[in-house]
Amino acid sequence: MTDMDQPSTPGADLPDHPDFLWRNPDPKPSYDVIIVGGGGHGLATAYYLAKNHGITNVAVLEKGWLAGGNMARNTTIIRSNYLWDESSGIYEHSLKLWEGLAEDLDYPILFSQRGVLNLAHTLQDVRDSVRRVNANNLNGIDAEWIDAQGVKELCPIVNISPDVRYPVLGATYQPRAGIAKHDYVAWGYARRASDMGVDLIQDCEVQGIDIVNGRVVGVQTSRGPIRAGKVALCGAGHSSVLADMAGIRVPLQSHPLQALVSEILQPVHPTVVMSNAVHVYVSQAHKGELVMGAGIDSYNGYGQRGSFHIIEDQMSAAVELFPIFARAHVLRTWAGIVDVTPDASPIVGLTEVEDLYLNCGWGTGGFKATPGVGSCFAHTVAHGRPHPYNEPFTLDRFTTGALVDEHGAAAVAH
């Protein structure tokens, strides 16, 4: 008689559940700071509030589950090769934090500095790219211009034939750029924030923002009212909905942004390749899937899905650039909701409502900024004034005209 013949309770012999990474508390009646939105930015802000400023009576309110929005949907590209000084400041600050983040969080985030190529396909692309390389170098950011042959050497599967619709004329290259494992980043922040006393409250939708005499005093949620000394909005694609609750008008339009992965393949793609002109950006995840992003769908939408013809355009661009992808199969596609500003730069700072802080407008590029904006936004909330790195990114700039136009460096592929 073997063990197979013994009746047993299904699951009885399984090991215990591993330790949970964070507590799952009920909301308290009151907090010093409430962060609305439990995505990457909200969790990072909570972590740096606790770590850098000693503020731990903090709640992160998330209407769904932690990091289930854009943090779960982005293509994980991390780089800092933006054109303007203001952008270089905050994105390079972020990249430097990424370089020490696994150690800081004591958690693996699989940050892989495999470099990013931003392809140029037209003479104007080439001129803009060389200008951006020069601007990056002046700001102390690693960047170089490489020709088509150099692109081929870094990423042998790129088709550099001149006989295609959009030939590769060269690329900017940032060697320190790369990718990270998005879920691990969120979990790492959540674990450490929770350890330091931050309450991460899921399934708790903010439905109203209480303002008395021009000062925020709390929020109404699906789990009841919660009082707050300060409220910090990290609502990403839903930032307009949150701002409307506070009577604040923000110059955002929310669009679906689609991405997809292939089936798992052998390592074929050693770096990250982005092309604004043909609307595709590709890397290969640690596990082996090709991860590709598209351009945004043109219309406003909150549905977390987009139109199929966008995927078709993206795939046709990908197959022209990488002919071997023609035989790969799409495993799944999805969309996240991105909040896009008129100048493709974020809005991070104070609002007309006292003690209410706004972090939004990251559009298609919020993931790479997670540590950078988390630390700067925490500083802003803790001190009631912006950190120098987010000082240029005011809501007021749309009135004063001091825009930070990053359409060239951000464009489709932020």
Binding site: H238, S240, V241, D244, R249, V250, P251, L252, Q253, S254, S298, Y299, N300, G301, Y302, G303, R305, S307, F308, H309, D339, P342, F398, T399, T400, G401
Partner: protein, 92 residues
């Protein structure tokens, strides 16, 4: 593919259309009198609701005419389409 009901041509595939953003945004009546804040409002600020939204579309590869639509931004469902000279329909 999603079908969009052009008020002149009837339902056609989405790829025939281009999006035009929020509808009923009038050019300022007295532009010289506008403050910077009012100019910012006209140039940069648009509604961004989750739910019903009155917006412009153009049937680029069809009749090439503009029209307005009321669409649910949560579901992408077109609830009504109407021509520019027609009033905005009331939808509950």
């Amino acid at each position: 593919m999603q079908l969009i009901p052009c008020p002149w041509c009837g339902p056609r595939e989405e790829v025939e259309f281009h999006y035009g953003g929020q509808a009923h945004v009038a050019y300022p009546a007295a532009p010289a009198d506008l403050s910077d804040r009012e100019w910012a409002e006209y140039v940069f600020f648009r509604d961004n609701p989750k739910g019903l939204f009155a917006e412009r579309w153009v049937h680029s590869t069809g009749c090439r005419r503009w029209f307005n639509a009321i669409r649910d931004t949560g579901t992408h469902d077109f609830r009504a389409v109407y021509r520019p000279n027609e009033p905005k329909p009331v939808i509950s």
